[in-house]
């Protein structure tokens, strides 16, 4: 039995309704408890800001695409090298670090749970292997269904139950967590050299539209009672004028779940552009935020960009090709048979580029204009908008109007003409930041029930103690301290153990992988379904029996089991 007592903590725990109380947190054997004995180890938090461990609900840190980003960018690998030190492995890389680099940097910032935003089912083993080498965070994998042939056939046949059965079989086979749609239909169209340009375009050769796919998958998701909703990367990412596609998508979304959103829209900054060309691109954050404010069944994340060098990587193959045509630098393009694809290119976001300045403004605007912080989560779509190590800077920008003005002064002076940011006064408070960086994620992902994102007795003892004293700080003027504080915890506690202290990693760590299994009635089990089996026999290069990820790939798997309403 190991016991730990965190004393004198300034706690904000939104899911438990705690908005800044000085209290003690008792921990026994990795869980939060009511109280511990007098022999418990004690940490004096000294009135510092203490939050549940951070949760990133959309990040790209593990898997084949991330790894390809690593080997196509030797210059990125040379950046951010750290030597072996105590239990710490060597790390390297800046925008696409090694797995240990990701894990340690997240841990230093108080993050204890990370969702990988896109796992190709066929290549799931690689993702899981990298998960086990990300030892300080519990990991979850969004599983790509955007170009899945069986899904598109079910959508064409208007058979939502069949779509649910395909999802259930696949999630269980690849140990995935939730449904991810990346440019639904578009990635498969790209396999034929095409793309889709609205949610009403036909996907070539499949007779379905992205809109039909999104609607069907939202319903299938609820039939399976999955913890998370459908996680959508809308069509037309990065295209001037794409806000209309985003609004059209939002119009489709029914309200089907009382506990959480029915659709999660990721990196919405990239989907909120007005104008018709790169020359007249403008911010449509006001329209998008209004739509989100009007529909409580939506949750979004920002997809903030930050200036500097990074790497873009997504299953959205055609979008990456458009970027390649702009930059003519390195480009990777990848097809995953019968399922999805991907593309990767390095980018540099510049303050001298008006387009980049407007993009920067849009992300912040979304966070400031969406009224309810539970609906808008902090993200950079790491590393697409910026590496996640920029989160503290984004927090500081959201908390300080003065900091935003100072930054705006460095940008292209026309930025204010194309984006409403200068007119926005709102400054987020500590509570709202706590919601946007952990509590809202736990709710949106549906993992508060397994003890994530809060500090009530029974919860996982994942705790972040930041060297910030809310009573003594005014974030609107002390933004530098806010930034530094969120960048380096005094203590990061993972499952009851201090894993990082003042930026030093002190424990090797051992994480869990959370996945979902939806139980379906026998007639919906596709293992012996002739049509489904034929897919493997005729098209896949992998046998059906070799396709599922074996348990040994998840040394500490945590399974969430649901009962499908089929």
């Amino acid at each position: 039995m190991s016991e730990l007592l965190v004393r004198n903590a300034y706690v904000i725990d939104p899911l438990s309704g705690i908005k800044g109380d000085i209290m003690d947190i008792a921990i026994r054997d990795g869980k939060i408890v009511e109280e511990v004995g007098r022999n418990a180890e004690v940490i004096d938090a000294d009135h510092c800001l203490t939050l549940p461990g951070g949760i990133d609900s959309h990040s790209h840190v593990c898997g084949t695409k991330v790894n390809f980003g690593r080997y196509m960018s030797p210059e990125d690998m040379r950046a951010g090298r750290t030597a072996r030190k105590g239990v710490m492995h060597v790390t390297s890389g800046y925008s696409v670090p090694t797995t240990f680099g990701n894990s340690y940097r997240y841990s230093t910032m108080g993050y204890t749970t990370v969702l990988e935003g896109a796992m190709a089912p066929l290549e799931a083993r690689h993702t899981h292997e990298e998960f086990t080498a990300t030892p300080h965070q519990d990991m979850l994998a969004n599983t790509l269904f955007d170009g899945n042939w069986s899904i598109m056939e079910a959508v064409r046949d208007r058979d939502v139950n069949r779509a649910a059965a395909v999802v259930a079989w696949t999630l269980s086979a690849v140990k995935g967590f939730a449904i991810k749609l990346t440019n639904p239909g578009g990635t498969e169209a790209w396999g034929f050299g095409e793309d889709v340009h609205s949610i009403r375009d036909q996907v070539p050769h499949f007779g379905v539209t992205p809109g039909e796919m999104i609607e069907t998958m939202i319903r299938a998701n609820e039939i399976l009672n999955l913890p998370h909703s459908v996680h959508l990367h809308c069509n037309c990412l990065g295209v001037p004028g794409n806000y209309q596609t985003t609004l059209d998508t939002i119009d489709l979304v029914p309200d089907l779940n009382a506990k959480r959103q029915s659709l999660y829209l990721t990196h919405l900054q990239f989907h909120s552009y007005g104008g018709s060309t790169w020359r007249d691109i403008s911010s449509k954050s006001e329209d998008i935020a209004r739509a989100v404010n009007n529909k409580s069944q939506l949750a979004i994340d920002m997809g903030q960009i930050m200036f500097g060098r990074t790497t873009t990587m997504t299953a959205d193959g055609p979008m990456e090709f458009k970027l390649y045509m702009l930059h003519h630098n390195k480009w990777s393009n990848h097809d995953v048979e019968l399922e999805t694809g991907s593309g990767i290119i390095p980018v540099y976001y510049s303050r001298k580029s008006l387009v980049n300045c407007v993009m920067w403004a849009i992300g912040l605007e979304l966070a400031l204009l969406v009224k309810d912080p539970w609906q808008c989560m902090l993200s950079t779509d790491n590393p697409n908008g910026a590496p996640f190590v920029k989160y503290p800077e984004i927090i500081a920008l959201l908390m300080s109007r003065r900091f935003r003005e100072r930054e705006m002064a460095l940008l292209d002076p026309r930025t204010g003409h194309y984006a409403p940011l200068p007119a926005i006064d709102r400054e987020l408070d500590w509570y709202e930041i706590a919601v946007m960086t952990r509590a809202a994620q736990a709710k949106a992902l549906g993992i508060s029930g397994i003890g994530k994102g809060h500090l009530a007795p029974g919860a996982e003892a994942d705790v972040a103690i930041y060297p910030l004293k809310p009573g003594l700080l005014d974030p609107s003027t002390d933004y530098q301290q806010v930034m530094a504080g969120f960048g380096k915890t005094r203590y990061t506690i993972k499952r009851g153990r201090v894993v990082a202290r003042d930026g030093d990693i002190i424990v090797e760590g051992a994480n869990s992988t959370i996945w979902t299994k939806a139980n379906v009635p026998p007639e919906y089990n596709l293992s012996a379904d002739p049509e489904f089996v034929k897919k493997f026999e005729q098209y896949y290069t992998v046998r059906m029996s070799n396709y599922p990820v074996q348990d040994l790939y998840l040394p500490r798997g945590v399974r969430i089991t649901t009962e499908a309403a089929l």
Binding site: Y71, M72, S73, P74, E75, N329, K330
Partner: protein, 255 residues
């Protein structure tokens, strides 16, 4: 100042030494210089007998002489920005990576990646060089950008891949895919090579021996005269690589 580094006998002489710290600027002050033997960090004096002669006030007055079993030393001269390194025998992989100034003389052979992504300065190898001599690196779109690399013997495959600037001079033969992806700079080959300059977009390559398996995507552009080692030769001029809308120049000696 002259620093002589003579290798000491080692229990397992085949384990490579990561010696990127062996550059003149590091010897100016009495620094604690460390290298890696495999994954073990070693003090310089654990690997070498060190003899220092004379003073130096700036790195360009530092000469490092490497002697003994030098063929296992990797990354010697990486990021070097002044001074001189003389290798009495062979040298391991990645000698002169990213070097920006100064000179490296190799009396024996050099292993792969000699002068990779070099920015400036001079490397002369009196023996043969391995693959990827004066080239870029995996995933890197720009290779050597400046300075000169001269190899008196032969070099391996992918010589001067992604060459962007500076001059590469190979007196012997080159291997396959010589000058592939060249974007600038000058590549001069005294001997033969195989499939030169695929995807070339800029720069000049001159071949005074034979070019085997010449690619069909170069456009003939007349005859010019060029000099090599005091003799004048008639050269066939080509432009390409047309497949990549390239504007490079490839000159091959007319027989």
């Amino acid at each position: 100042m002259r620093v002589i580094l003579q290798t000491k006998p080692r229990k397992n002489p085949h384990i490579p030494i990561e010696a990127e710290a062996v550059i003149p600027q590091n010897f100016l002050r009495k620094n604690d210089i460390r290298v890696y033997e495999g994954n073990k960090e070693r003090k310089l004096e654990e690997i070498f007998y060190i003899t220092t002669e004379g003073p130096a006030v700036s790195p360009d007055q530092v000469e490092i002489v490497l002697a003994g079993e030098t063929g296992t030393l990797k990354r010697v001269g990486e990021y070097m920005n002044a001074g001189r390194i003389v290798v009495e025998g062979d040298i391991g992989m990645h000698c002169g990576n990213f070097m920006s100034a100064g000179e490296i003389i190799i009396r024996g052979n050099a292993d792969a990646w000699l002068g990779r992504e070099m920015r400036g300065g001079m490397i002369r190898c009196e023996g043969n060089a391995g693959h990827y001599c004066a080239a870029g690196y995996r995933g890197e779109k720009r290779g050597m950008r400046g300075g000169t690399v001269e190899v008196m013997g032969n070099s391996g495959d992918f010589t001067a891949e992604y060459l962007c600037g500076g001059e590469v001079r190979i007196h012997g033969d080159c291997g396959d895919l010589t000058g592939v992806e060249m974007r600038g700079g000058t590549l001069i080959i005294g001997g033969n090579c195989h499939r030169p300059c695929g995807n070339m977009t800029g720069g000049t390559c001159m071949i005074f021996g034979n070019a085997d398996a010449m690619l069909p995507t170069f456009r003939s552009n007349g005859i010019e005269e060029r000099e090599y080692e005091g003799q004048r030769f008639q050269m066939m001029v080509f432009r390409g690589d047309v497949a990549n809308r390239g504007k490079g120049t490839l000159l091959i000696r007319k027989k």
